[in-house]
Amino acid sequence: MINLLIHLILLLTLPPLLLGIINKTKALFAGRKGPPVLQVYYDLIKLAQRDVVISDVTTWVFTAAPIITLVGVLMAALLVPLGSFPAPVSFVGDLILFAYLLSIGRFFTTMAAMDTGCALEGMGAAREVTFSCLSEPALFFALLVLAKMSGTLMLGDLLHAPLIVGTQSTAASMVLLAIGLFILLLAENSRIPVDDPNTHLELTMIHEVMVLDHSGPLLGIVLYGAAIKLFLFSAILLHILFPFQTGCAPLDWGLFIVEMGFVAVTVGVVESIMARLQMQHVPYLLIAAILFCSFGFVLLVR
C-alpha cells in the first residue's frame, strides 16, 4: 500500500524534474549556468495561471486534444512498474492497451495540429505519424522479446523479466534491446538527434511545432504529458538496463530515483554531443531501432 502511494506520488511529481536535469546537463556542457533544475515546475505553475488564447479556425478537437493525450499517458503510466515494485494495475494483455493508450494521444495531438490550418504544424503532424509507423514495430519487437523471456502477457511481470529470469544467455539480446529502446526513447520524446525540443521555428521540428498554438493551461498540460511520457520510457529502459534490487523497499526507491537521474543525464549528454539528424535520415535511425530490437528477438528464440 505504501509502495503504491510512493509510486503514484513519484509518477505525478518526478517527470518535470527529468526535463530539468536534462536542461541543466546541456547547460553545463555548453558552459552556461542554465535554468534551475526546478524550472519546469515554475513554468507549469505559471502556465496554469495564465489565460488561454484559441485560434478561431480551430474546433473542439484543439482544446480536447491535450486533455485526452494526458489522460492516455497517465492511464498508460499505471500499467508500468517502477523499479522492482509491481505496477498499480496489471492484467493479461495490458501491454497492448499500453501501446494503444499512447497512440490515442498521438491521434489527437496530430489532429489538433492540423486543426490550426497552418502549414508548419501540418508538417509536424505528418512527420509524427510517419515516424510512428517506424517506432511502433520497434516497440512491439521489444515487447515480444520480453514476453518470450517472461512467458507472460502482463506488462508488470514482462518488464521484470530481466530482473527475475535474466541470465547470461539473455544478456546479449538485452543489450540490443537496451540500444533499441534508447533510440525509441529519444524519438518518441522528440529529443536530439530526431527532434530538438528547444527550437520552435526551424522547419525540421516535429513535436514542438505541433503544439505551437497551444497556450496557458493547455500548453501546461501538453508539457506535463510530454514529461510523463519521457518518465515512462525511461522507467521501461531502466528495467532492461539495471535489473537489480536490494530487497529493501526504501533503498530500492532511492536506487530508482538515482537511476532515473542517470537516464536524464545520459539524454542530456547525447543532446550535447550530437547534432540533429537531417529529416530524411531520421527513418534510418528508427529502422536501426527496429533492427536492434528484432535481432534481440532472433537471438533469444534461435
Binding site: 486533455i67 497492448i96 511502433e136 528477438f297
Partner: protein, 659 residues
C-alpha cells in the same frame, strides 16, 4: 412458425422488398417508403428468428424437395451463420432509411425503382448465401448477390468512370465464381452429393485437399478483397451511391470471409502451411491496403482501401486459427477466430458509419476530392462528431470497438512466444505487422479527418455545406452508438462467438473471457471517458474566457490563406514515398526551365498498381493477340459453311482412318 422459418420469411421479404414499388410511379416517394417498410419488416422477422432460435444454438436445418435435378432445397442456421446474419439484418435496413433522403426517388426517377429492387436483392441474396446448405442454392444466392451489387454500383452509368468500375467488378466477381464452380464440382466428386456437409479427414488425398483450399481462398478471396484479388474493390466502392458502398463494404465483403470460414469448417484442412499462407496474405493485404489508402485523395476510394486493410486483419485472424487447428492449439483458434469474427462485426459498424458519413460530406461539398474540402467541422458539426467516432474506432484505439477485436488478435499472436510454444515465434512477428497496420491506419484517418473537417475551408462555396437531414443522421447515430457500446462492452457478443468458435474446437474450448479479461477493458474505457470529461469540465471556464477573435498564431503567420495549409496529399507525402516501391505514385512535375516559366500545374496520383500495371495491360495484350483470330470471322455464310465442311471431313477422316 418456428425460428428458421421466420428467418427465411424475412429473407424472402428482403429479396422482394423492391418489387411492389416497381408497379408504382417512377417518382413516387410513397413507393420508396413502402420498400423501406418491407425491408424493415424483413429485418425485424430475421432478428425475431435469430432470437427465437437463440442464434442457431443448437444448429437447425430446414429441407424441402425441389424440382432442380439433384439434391433438395436445404437451408440451415448455426452459430457461424448467425454471426454473419446479424449485420445482414441490421446494416442494409439502416442504409435503406439513409437512402430515403440520399437517393430520393423523385430526384432520381431514372433509376430509383431499380435501386430499391436491387438493394433488396443484394440484402436478401446475402442472407440466402449464409443460410444455404446446398451448393446449388449457394451458387444461385451468390450470383443474385453479385449481380445485384453490379447493378447498384453502376447506378450512375452515364459516367464513363462508373461503367469502367462496373465492368472490372463484373469480370473480377465472375473470375471468383469460376473458381467457386470448380470448388463445388470437386467437392461433389469427393463427397458424392451437393449438400454442404462435413468432409471426413481420412477421405481426401493431400493433393485434393490442397486444391480445395486454394480454390476456396481464390474464389472467396475475390469477393472479400484479399490482395491480389482486390482489384475491383476501390473503383466499385468509390463509384457506387454511398448507402450502397456502406452495404458492400460493411456486409458484402464479409460474405467472402463467410465463404472461407464455412469451407474451412467443412473441409479437413489441417496442414500448417495453410494457416501460414493465410496469415501472410492477411498481413500483406493489411499493410499494403492501408498504404494505398494513405495515397488516395478521393474520400471513398480511401475508405475502400481501408476496407481491404480490415479484410487483411480478419484474414490474419483466420490464419492464426488455422495454425491452431493444425497444431491442436485451442488458444490460437479461440483468439484468432474470436478476433476475426468480432472484427467482422466491428468493421460492419464503423465502416458503414464512415461510408454513410462520406455520403453526407459529398452531398454537402459536391465533390469526392478531399483536397477541395476543409473546415467542414464548423458547418457540419454532427457529421464531424460522428466521423471522428468512426475514425477512432477504425484505428483500433480504445475506448471504442475496434480495439476489442484487435486486442484479441494481438493476444493470439503473443501466445506464440509463450512458454509452451517452442518454435512458433515467427507467428509473433504477425503482432508487429498488426502494429504497423495500426500506426498506418492512424496516419490515414488523421489525414482524412483533418483534410475534410479541420482548418479553414479551401474552396468557400456560395451555399455553405450543412448537416444532412434527420433521416440521414439517424442511421449514422445508431451505428456510432454501436461503436461506442461495443467498445465499452464487447463481451455482450461473446456467448455467440464462443458457440461459433466451438464449431472449430469442439466443446473443449476455454472461455473467451478467461483468455482475454474484458472487464479490465470496460473499466479502462469508463475511466478514460470520465477523466477526459472531467478534465474538460475543469478547464471549461478558461476556455470560454478565451478572446473571441484570434487567428492562428504559429510564430508569426501573418497572412494565412486557406490554400497555404497542409493538404491531404502533402500530409501523406512522406508515407507515400516510404511505400513508393508498392504504390508507384504518378507525379506530374511541371517543367520550370525558362526564365519566365508558363503557368503550369503539379499533380500526384496513386492508382492501383496491380490493376493499372499488370492486369489491364495483360488484358489489352490478350485482346491484341485475339484480334488476329478475327481473320477467321469473315461474316459470310459461305465461308462458315466451308468451315463446317472442313471440320466434318476432318472428323470423318479421323474416325474412319484412325490417325
Amino acid at each position: 412458425m418456428n425460428g428458421i422459418e421466420l428467418i427465411f420469411a424475412g429473407t424472402i421479404l428482403l429479396i422482394a422488398s423492391g418489387l411492389p414499388a416497381c408497379f408504382r410511379s417512377r417518382k413516387s416517394i410513397q413507393a420508396q417508403w413502402m420498400t423501406t417498410a418491407i425491408m424493415l419488416l424483413g429485418s425485424g422477422l430475421g432478428w425475431a428468428g435469430l432470437l427465437a432460435t437463440s442464434f442457431g444454438t443448437p444448429a437447425i436445418e430446414l429441407t424441402h424437395a425441389w424440382n432442380l435435378p439433384s439434391g433438395q432445397f436445404a437451408i440451415g442456421l448455426d452459430p457461424l451463420s448467425a454471426v454473419f446474419l446479424i449485420p445482414i439484418f441490421t446494416i442494409p435496413v439502416l442504409g435503406s432509411f439513409y437512402g430515403m433522403s440520399y437517393w430520393r426517388q423523385n430526384e432520381h426517377p431514372e433509376n430509383g425503382r431499380g435501386m430499391g429492387l436491387f438493394y433488396g436483392l443484394l440484402a436478401g441474396g446475402m442472407a440466402l448465401v449464409v443460410l444455404s446448405r446446398n451448393s446449388i442454392l449457394f451458387m444461385i444466392a451468390w450470383e443474385v448477390m453479385a449481380l445485384a451489387a453490379f447493378f447498384l454500383a453502376g447506378a450512375e452509368d452515364e459516367k464513363t468512370e462508373v461503367r469502367r468500375a462496373g465492368w472490372i467488378y463484373l469480370v473480377a466477381t465472375h473470375t471468383g465464381t469460376v473458381c467457386l464452380l470448380a470448388l463445388f464440382c470437386l467437392l461433389r466428386t469427393v463427397s458424392g452429393g451437393i449438400a454442404l456437409s462435413t468432409i471426413e479427414a481420412g477421405s481426401l488425398s493431400s493433393g485434393i485437399a490442397t486444391a480445395l483450399f486454394i480454390l476456396t481462398i481464390v474464389g472467396f478471396g475475390f469477393k472479400a478483397g484479399i490482395m491480389p484479388m482486390h482489384i475491383w474493390l476501390p473503383g466499385a466502392h468509390a463509384n457506387a451511391p454511398s448507402h450502397v458502398s456502406a452495404v458492400m463494404s460493411g456486409v458484402m465483403l464479409k460474405m467472402g470471409i463467410y465463404g472461407i470460414l464455412r469451407m474451412l469448417t467443412l473441409l479437413p484442412v489441417t496442414e500448417l502451411w495453410n494457416g501460414e499462407v493465410l496469415l501472410g496474405l492477411g498481413a500483406t493485404t493489411g499493410i499494403l491496403g492501408i498504404a494505398f489508402a494513405i495515397g488516395q485523395n478521393d474520400i471513398k476510394r480511401l475508405l475502400a482501401y481501408s476496407s481491404i486493410e480490415n479484410i487483411g486483419i480478419i484474414t490474419m485472424g483466420i490464419g492464426l486459427a488455422l495454425i491452431g487447428r493444425a497444431l491442436h492449439r485451442t488458444d490460437f483458434i479461440l483468439l484468432g477466430l474470436g478476433g476475426a469474427l468480432l472484427h467482422v462485426w466491428n468493421h460492419s459498424l464503423f465502416k458503414s458509419l464512415l461510408f454513410l458519413n462520406s455520403g453526407s460530406i459529398i452531398h454537402a461539398a459536391h465533390t469526392r476530392d478531399m483536397n477541395r474540402m476543409g473546415g467542414l467541422a464548423k458547418s457540419m458539426p454532427v457529421t464531424a462528431g460522428l466521423f471522428i467516432i468512426g475514425a477512432v474506432a477504425i484505428c483500433g484505439l480504445p475506448p471504442l470497438n475496434g480495439f476489442a477485436s484487435e486486442w484479441l488478435l494481438y493476444l493470439g499472436f503473443f501466445h506464440s512466444v509463450g512458454a509452451e510454444s517452442g518454435s512458433l515465434w515467427p507467428i509473433g512477428v504477425a503482432a508487429v505487422a498488426l502494429a504497423v497496420i495500426g500506426a498506418l491506419a492512424l496516419a490515414c484517418f488523421v489525414k482524412i479527418y483533418s483534410t475534410v473537417f479541420l482548418g479553414p475551408a479551401r474552396y468557400p462555396k456560395q451555399n455553405a455545406p450543412q448537416d444532412p437531414s434527420r433521416l440521414m443522421s439517424a442511421p449514422m447515430i445508431l451505428l456510432a452508438s454501436g461503436c461506442v457500446f461495443f467498445g465499452f462492452l464487447p463481451q455482450i457478443g461473446f456467448p455467440l462467438l464462443q458457440q461459433a468458435i466451438g464449431q472449430w474446437t469442439g466443446s473443449a474450448a476455454p472461455a473467451l473471457t478467461s483468455a482475454a479479461p474484458f472487464q479490465w477493458i470496460s473499466g479502462a474505457a469508463a475511466i478514460f471517458l470520465l477523466l477526459s470529461v472531467g478534465g474538460h469540465l475543469l478547464l471549461r471556464r478558461k476556455i470560454r474566457r478565451a478572446p473571441a477573435t484570434t487567428g492562428t498564431w504559429s510564430c508569426g503567420y501573418a497572412h494565412p490563406t486557406p490554400k497555404m495549409q497542409y493538404s491531404g496529399t502533402s500530409f501523406a507525402q512522406m508515407l507515400v514515398s516510404l511505400f513508393r516501391w508498392a504504390l508507384c505514385p504518378r507525379i506530374n512535375k511541371p517543367d520550370l526551365s525558362a526564365i519566365f516559366p508558363a503557368r503550369t500545374a503539379f499533380s500526384t496520383e496513386v492508382a492501383d498498381t496491380l490493376l493499372e500495371r499488370l492486369i489491364l495491360p495483360s488484358f489489352w495484350k490478350t485482346r491484341g493477340t485475339m484480334m488476329k483470330l478475327r481473320l477467321l470471322q469473315q461474316g459470310r455464310i459461305q465461308i462458315y459453311l466451308l468451315y463446317i465442311l472442313a471440320i466434318v471431313s476432318f472428323l470423318f477422316c479421323w474416325s474412319h482412318f484412325g490417325f
